[in-house]
Symmetry: C2
C-alpha cells in the first residue's frame, strides 16, 4: 500500500508524528498551529489521510498515525535528518542554517537516493542536533546522544560525531587523540570558565573549553 504522498500530506504526517512524541493523541488545533494552517484545513486533510489508512481518525474525538502512517513518517524523518547531516558535515552549513533546506530536500522521495546518501555518509546514527536517524527499515537507534558538555561526571561515553565547523578544531582534536569512537569520561568541570577535565580512555587527561565540549557529540555507555 505504498501510495505516493504529496508534499502537503507528508507535512501533515511528519507533524502528527512529532506532536505524538509529546502527548498520547493530537488535537486538531495543535496540529493546525504546528503546520501553520487553519483547523478546518486539518479536518479536511485528516479525512483524506483516513481514506488512505495513514491515520486512525475519530471525528470530534482523537486521531493518531496508523502503523502505515508511522512508517511513512519515519521515512520522511530519515530523509530530513540524513540531509541535515550531509549539509553540516559535507557542505559546511551551520546547525542553524540546515533546517529550512532539509525541509525541502526531505520531499525528494527516491529510495535509491536516500540509501546511497546514507551509505555515503557512513550510516550516521544521529543528525547534527543529536536526533536519531531511522535506518532504511525505519528502526530508530535507541541510544542517547548529547553534547559532551552535558555528559554527567565520571560516566564513560563514546564519541559519535564532531561538528567540523573549523579545521582548527579538527586538528586540535586529532592531535589530542580524540576522534569518532574514542571513549572518555568527564572528570571535572571548572565553574570559572565551564571548561571540562577529560580523561581519555587508556590515555592522558586534558582540559577543553565549553565551546569544544559542545561541538562533540557522545553516547553514554
Amino acid at each position: 500500500m505504498l501510495t505516493n504522498l504529496s508534499v502537503s500530506e507528508q507535512n501533515y504526517i511528519k507533524s502528527i508524528y512529532h506532536l505524538q512524541q509529546n502527548s498520547e493523541s493530537v488535537t486538531t488545533n495543535a496540529l493546525a498551529g504546528h503546520i501553520k494552517t487553519k483547523p478546518a484545513s486539518v479536518t479536511d486533510m485528516l479525512k483524506k489521510l483516513q481514506t488512505k489508512n495513514l491515520v486512525n481518525y475519530n471525528p470530534y474525538k482523537s486521531f493518531r498515525l496508523s502503523r502505515e502512517g508511522n512508517k511513512a513518517a519515519l521515512n520522511i524523518i530519515r530523509r530530513h535528518r540524513l540531509w541535515e547531516f550531509f549539509l553540516v558535515n559535507q557542505l559546511q552549513f551551520t546547525w542553524e542554517e540546515v533546517h529550512e533546506v532539509a525541509e525541502q530536500l526531505e520531499h525528494v522521495t527516491s529510495k535509491k537516493l536516500v540509501d546511497k546518501l546514507d551509505a555515503f555518509l557512513g550510516y550516521p546514527g544521529f543528525d547534527p542536533h543529536g536526533d536519531p536517524i531511522p535506518n532504511s527499515n525505519g528502526k530508530i537507534n535507541q541510544q542517547v546522544q548529547m553534547p559532551l558538555f552535558n555528559l554527567p561526571l565520571n560516566t564513560l561515553a563514546i564519541i559519535t560525531s564532531v561538528q567540523n565547523q573549523s579545521s582548527d578544531l579538527l586538528s586540535f582534536l586529532s592531535n589530542s587523540g580524540i576522534t569518532i569512537g574514542t571513549k572518555l569520561e568527564v572528570k571535572q568541570k571548572l565553574n570559572f570558565d565551564n571548561s571540562l577535565g577529560i580523561k581519555i580512555k587508556n590515555k592522558s587527561s586534558i582540559f577543553i573549553s565549553e565551546q569544544i565540549a559542545n561541538a562533540i557529540q557522545v553516547n553514554p555507555l
Copy 2:
C-alpha cells in the same frame, strides 16, 4: 524581480529553454508534447508566465523566454546538472539513473545550498553527460566536452572528468598517469576491438579499451 516559481512554472521554463536550443521559437504543441500535458494547459501557463515577464508571448504567433526567463532557466539547469554530477561522482549512481532523481532535486531552490554544493564538488564545468554547468552568474562554459573515445586523432585534449564507477578503473588510470588535467592525444584506433592508442603528454603511450575511453571525458584544446 526574483519571483518564487512553482515547480510547474519551473518545468515549463526549463522545457522552453531546451526547445529553444534546437529551433528559434517554440510551438505550443511541441511544448505540450515535451512536458506531457495538453496544448490548452500550455496556453494557460504561457499567459501566466507572460504576466510575470518570464516569456514574450504573442498569441497564435510565437513565444520565447524573456531575459528574465532565460536567467531563471539557467538557474534550474545549473541545479539539475550539479546534482547529476553529485549523484554520479559522490553517490555512485550510473549515468542512466540520475536524470529522474535530479529532476526532483533541481526544484530545491536554496541559493546557499547550490553554491555550497558547487564548491563541494570543485566547481565542475560539465555534468556526467558532458553538458556544461552554468556558474552562479548563469555563465555557461563554452568549451566542448566529449568522451575520449570520440576525440579525433592527433588532437591534443585535457581530461576533465572520469566516471569513477569502479575502483579497478580508477587505480588502473592513476597507475597509468591519467588523472584530471592530464593532456593527451589519440594516436590510433584499432578497428578490431575499437581500442585506442593514447599518447600521454611528455610520457609513454598506452592502449586503452573502448569502454575506458568512453568513461573519460576530455576537452579538445
